[in-house]
Amino acid sequence: MAETDPAKPSDGPERDDFQARLAAARERRDGGRDTASAAAARNTGQLGLGFRVAVDLLAGVAVGTGMGLALDRWLGTSPWFLLVFLALGFAAGMMNMLRTVRAADAARRRIAGERGKRE
């Protein structure tokens, strides 16, 4: 099963991947700015991006919870600061996620744009 039918055209995603790599290689050769974030978007794929986003949310909530607990312990106001900072931490996590996704999205669009220009 190692060899594939030569008559069969290659799959869409594989082709796209190749085109992206080719564009990146040309970009590098031409001395243009192959942005590293664009490379990141190309390399990590959907699963990697999903994991990154999950960690972003988790980190925000974890820091918020930690700060809330610390403030409560210090001021003896349990559970009020925890409740407030849990919500703030969640919001911060959402903000982190949004930024990661936006950066990945912009990078992806930049790659697509560059590819469009060339063809």
């Binding site: 700015r33 192959d34 942005t35 590293a36 974030s37 990141a40 390399n43 990590t44 990697g48 994991f51 990154r52 960690v55 972003d56 988790l58 980190a59 925000g60 974890a62 820091v63 918020g64 700060m67 900072f85 703030l88 931490g89 919001a91 911060a92 996590g93 903000m95 982190n96």
Partner: protein
């Protein structure tokens, strides 16, 4: 079958204590020392000949240099040039740590949150100091989104501060979780090969997980590179934020 978590045990090799503090030289510390020795050895040894047309080792060193120099230039700009040695050290330390962990029986120090968090915290504190040194109190404008109404400040500033403080957490958790999960999966599949391969029938049932194991090993090498890359590029992006403030 041995526990898949056994590979992460810290074993003191040379027991040392500083007062009540346990500062034993552990297997983790040994691997870090080896990583530093490998990096230093590779860089010093490979560029010794200073060939115009680089040999194999020399091109590895040059490739690494150019890769990180390009990354710093793209993400931080010309002001980032003087932080290149720092970024390069971080990248090579994490990368070699990840790759050394791929040697059979070796300890992966990047699979410990204590190590990755200490690394991320050093980067985070360092970058924060760089930002404050360059911009003074103006640095704190980072915590207020440009153009937002002043009335929103009581909510937005805590959120931005938490978001900023969560950077070292996400940076370290990402690296540690990827390395830990990868090595656990490798160990579990290796266990499958043994248990299925020793079933009465034949060794055939063991072939399937063995094939998977080969694929997973290749994937794990890729992850080792990718995570070192992500760790470094995020450090660059944070450095850029501190230098250019949005």
């Amino acid at each position: 079958m041995a526990s898949p978590l056994e590979q992460f045990t810290i074993k003191p090799l040379v027991p040392l204590s500083l007062g009540k503090l346990d500062v034993s030289f552990t297997n983790s510390a040994l691997m870090m020392a080896i990583a530093v020795a490998v990096i230093a050895g590779l860089l010093v040894f490979s560029v010794r000949s200073r060939d115009l047309v680089p040999g194999r080792l020399q091109s590895v060193a040059e490739l690494g240099y150019e890769f990180i120099a390009g990354m710093v230039r793209e993400n931080v700009g010309d002001e980032g040039r003087k932080y290149f040695p720092f970024v390069f050290s971080v990248f090579s330390f994490v990368l070699v740590g990840n790759l050394l962990g791929m040697l059979p029986g070796a300890f992966t120090f990047t699979s410990h949150i204590a190590v990755t968090f200490a690394l991320a915290l050093t980067i985070f504190v360092g970058i924060t100091f760089i930002g404050i040194a360059r911009h003074g109190t103006h640095f704190f404008s980072l915590f207020f989104p440009h153009g937002a109404p002043i009335a929103a400040a009581p909510i937005l500033i805590p959120i931005e501060v938490i978001s900023y403080l969560s950077r070292p957490v996400s940076l370290s958790v990402r690296l540690f979780a990827n390395m830990t999960v990868g090595h656990i999966i490798l160990k579990i599949f290796a266990g499958f090969v043994i248990t299925l391969g020793s079933v009465k029938f034949f060794i055939l049932p063991g072939v399937l997980p063995f094939g998977m194991l080969i694929g997973l090993t290749a994937l794990e090498f890729f992850v080792a590179f990718l995570q070192a890359y992500i760790f470094t590029i995020l450090s660059c992006i944070y450095l850029n934020d501190a230098i250019h403030l949005h």
